[in-house]
Amino acid sequence: MNVIVDREKGLLELEKRIAELRAANASQPLDMSPEIAALEQKYEEILREVFGRLSPWEKVNMARHPSRPTSLDYLSQLDRFDELHGDRHMRDDPAIVAGFAMLRGRPVMAIGQQRGRDTKENLRRNFGMVTPEGYRKVQRLAHTASRLRVPIVTFIDTKGADPGIASEEHSQSEAIARCLYEFTEARVPIVAAIIGEGGSGGALALGIADDVIMLEHSVYSVASPEGCAAILWGDATKAEEAASRLKLTAQDLQQFGIIDEIVPEPLGGAHRDPAGVVARVLGTMYAAVQRLSALAPETLREQRYRKYRRVGAWQVGRQETIGKSP
């Protein structure tokens, strides 16, 4: 159960009551405005209390919210989008939606992970979990974009790469590894936006970028909290604890220098003002693409190399290779 959806239920009831009172107020002589105002104030208070400070686990749930804008909500707000299909080997993976697009008059190659907005679509799109064929479509289009000097923009929203039998048979490892390689080598600006859940290598496959944008309540993690808890403690139900340890929030990751920019969300999350959030993300992407397009391809690649070359936290020292530690 999604904890955010759960909490919204109480608020929705209150919203309904206020609307009812308002309607009733208009059609009767007795003025109930003070009561309505009090209720509205209460509503605002609860909203702030519930959503003002989200814990990492709450953010995970927010990132997975069924009404949160998905890649297609962003792609549909571009000036133009011409979807391209297939990996040219096996099939077309509906968990990747990609193609040429115009971002405020500028040609881009837009690539997004697409989860379903209802059960039926989720089944078709495999809950946004990409298969090797999807990653090979990404590679192909990233390669084309690099050759044609068209900047790449990506929308990341996945629990992780598909962990099925067929995906292993078609080498999920190689498919992701080649995406990383293609993005590393691309001679064009790459701007990535984590719009929902950024789960593990399956997300990073679209995530090597010159500018990484994250929505305020998106998460980006080495493994899903459930996966991490299962790996470390053999117990997927400890996901909430894992979420708090993994430092997977946009705020943590900006501090670490792993992401570059945070786009704010309205109180209660992106789905409370989808149009506004989509416009803000696209605006931020456009500005980044413009900025990066001023750089020569080789400068861009050199910068990207240095950015990923230095990421990490280590110390340089001498330690006895063998024997007791201090």
Binding site: R245, G312, W314
Partner: protein, 279 residues
């Protein structure tokens, strides 16, 4: 085979409880093997041919002709997330240091194999399950950069449970770092070989392990992206034994060859000869 000086020193210093064990039991056939016989047979069961997991230094000593000059050993782990669960991350690390005699999950350096100069990186499953944190990524990137400068082929032995959870996103980012280093190395025209040993999964298999010119695997090595348990939980059924083995990957066309450990050095030398002789 004469034991090189560097290895003799390490061995003498690691003569503790673990090495004092004289007997090892084969996890496949149950045969109890005298440890010295096992070592003489390159840690392959003399009865059933099961390939035991090797420590990095044992591996290096079976491949490198003489001296091995380590690089990156001064790079040591930090604790960027201040990780605590049952133990703190630094406590886990120091436990693994004692247990494995290693400072981290990979040993990198330069030496010769069959007279050919090579850069060699060997991951060791005995240190945090061979998981890739910052230090593994950093040492591998350094090895590739140095190999690029020297224009020598690079061989990396993988053994990994995936990304290291305790370093969070810093660990995931090592996939990007190692890939960036591989790309520079191979695009410059250098030869890159990976040898996948049991097990090679997750963030390591989905980065440099599968970015090489030639991919070799040891017999029966478990290789894949998702762990077996994860897949079984997802599809709610048991997987066949053969699934995700080296032989399975060979059949599916994802690796170049499966090579018995006794033939491994020869195979590497043969491959190195193709790039050593001017065309």
């Amino acid at each position: 085979m004469a034991i090189p000086e560097w290895l003799r020193i390490r061995r003498s210093r690691s003569d503790d409880g673990r090495d004092a064990a004289l007997w090892s039991k084969c996890s496949k056939c149950g045969e109890v093997l005298y440890r010295r016989d096992l070592a003489a047979n390159l840690f392959v069961c003399t009865k059933c041919g099961h390939h035991f997991r090797m420590t990095a230094f044992d591996r290096i000593s079976t491949l490198i002709d003489g001296d091995f000059n380590e690089v990156g050993s001064e790079i040591l782990p930090g604790d960027p997330l201040g990780w605590v669960d049952r133990k703190t991350y630094p406590v886990k690390l120091s436990g693994d240091r004692e247990k494995s005699g290693l400072t981290e999950g990979v040993v990198c350096g330069f030496g010769q194999i069959g007279g050919h100069d090579v850069a060699l990186g060997v991951m060791d499953f005995h240190f945090r399950g061979g998981t890739m944190g910052t230090v593994v990524g950093e040492r591998i990137a350094l090895l590739l950069e140095e190999a690029l400068k020297r224009k020598v082929p690079c061989i990396i032995f993988t053994a990994s449970g995936g990304a290291r959870m305790e370093e969070g996103m810093f660990a995931l980012m090592q996939m990007a770092k190692t890939t960036a280093a591989v790309a520079r190395f191979v695009e410059d025209g250098n030869f890159f070989v990976t040898v996948l040993t049991d097990p090679t999964t997750g963030g390591v298999s989905a980065s440099f392990a599968f970015e090489s010119d030639v991919i070799i695997a040891e017999p029966k090595a478990m290789i894949g992206f998702a762990g077996r348990r994860v897949i079984e939980q997802t599809i709610r059924q048991k997987l066949p034994d053969q699934f995700q083995t080296a032989e399975f990957l060979l059949e599916k066309g994802h690796i170049d060859m499966v090579v018995d450990r006794h033939e491994l050095k020869n195979t590497l030398v043969r491959l190195l000869e193709y790039v050593a002789v001017p065309a």
